[in-house]
């Protein structure tokens, strides 16, 4: 059985293109991780830590929820109002 992808999707690839052709290696260097990790995050195969997610969002000068989206949860997980 293949491993399940994470429920967290992201816009990193698109944001990299928008921000003047930032390569995976550039981004990895700025975040202090490997290019393999950047690729795994982009492909939804690895959910970064909350801290790294904030760092990624800050790198693109975007709010966290413009970079990452959570696809999990149901009616029980709707915001409390």
């Amino acid at each position: 059985m293949p491993p399940k992808p994470t429920k967290v999707t992201n816009q990193i690839r698109a944001l990299r293109s928008e921000s003047g052709q930032m390569t995976q290696a550039d981004m990895a260097e700025r975040l202090g991780v490997t290019r393999q990790t950047v690729i795994a995050i982009e492909q939804g195969k690895y959910s970064p830590s909350l801290e790294m997610a904030f760092e990624i969002a800050r790198l693109f000068r975007r709010p966290l929820d413009e970079v990452f989206h959570y696809a999990g949860g149901g009616a029980d997980n709707q915001p409390f109002s």
Partner: protein, 164 residues
Amino acid sequence: MNHELRQPEDDDPVVMTVDERSVWVYLVVVVVTSVAYFAVIIPRVLSQPVEDVSWIAPLLWAIGFSIVGTIVGSIVGSIGGAIGLAIRGIEPKGQLEGDLRDKEIKRLGDRRAAVVASSAMFGVLVLAMFGADLFWIGNLVYLAGVIGGLIETTTKLRAYRGGL
């Protein structure tokens, strides 16, 4: 001839980190040494009483080869990876070292292997209670190490390839 190395572009092939390479080496070493060990031991078990089977020396050789093979294989693999990148004109620095993801994958694999190890300890306890021959105790521990190694490595490789 231009010897300047460049950073990888997005369409360059992805190389394995040193940690992932070591997992592959460990998997191969565990399979090769355990198959060799059991190929020596099983015919002996079938041809004579278990108490007379000489198993300590082959076991020590298998464990010794596993340790040395994993260390040497990992070093050779790392050097090979760096040379491979350099030949393609890519700067190896920053491409091979592990990071937080490697540590998380390591923890996951180690945890699965620990389950096998603790089960084996229980098995050893039962064998000792019933006064089983040392052959069975020693080989149960070795078998648990092999199974634990296989589970650990396949868990890690699955996480590396499929996702964590």
